[in-house]
Symmetry: C2
Subunit: 140 residues, 2 copies
């Protein structure tokens, strides 16, 4: 059961500059900024209604995000669809022959997620995410 | 004033097949399907919370969307941010030196919109949209 778009992720080369663009020029508001050393990224969240724009900057040169940036340049990276129960979604997707990148849910900034292979979604990288309980309310 | 993400647009080669993937496998529900001869596209909308996934298939070989598909393949195309007043947004964006592709709002399937140049949004094509009045309610 998909409840909303949790976020849309955009890969950027310079997070400070991207925050300035999306906040001061495009008109969104920065909610939080995180460094995630394990994923080798810094990220910023800017709400838009019940969803968020997530800006992602790689902090190393060999992560998946860094390679994506090197190959394709800045731009749209993935869509995150929020679900109520990630284990149930995983089972349900597998039963419908959707190709899933992760065998079990992984810890993301905002909850537990899995990624579908873009081959199963017409070229789009889609994340399914069950938010941590304290983050499950809609943005104020 | 950005009120929500109206839709995320995905370019596809075969709309029937894409609807099957996003509905029967990923788990969204088709709300409507439109042919827009002037834009040389067929589109389908599948709601996710207060937003929609928009699948776009070119119906000619020389439209912008067709060229995008030929060059980059299927995948994410643009984000549409909903605003209350498109004329006001246009003025406000111009005053902040955002590069805008359209000099005046154009008619889209769901309202009047303008597109920002990806140079002004770190590689992302962003639409600003004021929905037609009868479409301004949130999806049920």
């Amino acid at each position: 059961m998909i409840t909303r778009i949790n976020h849309i992720a955009i890969v950027v080369a310079d997070l400070d500059d991207a925050i300035r663009s999306y906040q001061d020029r495009i008109g969104l508001t920065l909610r939080k900024r995180l460094h995630m050393p394990e994923q080798e990224v810094e990220i910023a969240f800017l709400p838009a209604g019940e969803s968020m724009i997530e800006l992602i900057m790689p902090t190393s040169e060999d992560s998946g995000v860094a390679k994506y940036l090197a190959k394709r340049g800045e731009g749209l990276h993935h869509i995150c669809l929020e679900v109520e129960d990630i284990e149930q979604s995983l089972e349900s997707l597998a039963s419908r022959d959707v190709q899933i990148i992760n065998e079990t849910p992984i810890e993301a900034a905002e909850g537990h997620g899995i990624f579908l292979h873009p081959k199963s979604a017409h070229g789009v990288l889609i994340e399914f995410l069950e938010p941590y309980p304290h983050l499950s309310d809609k943005p104020e």
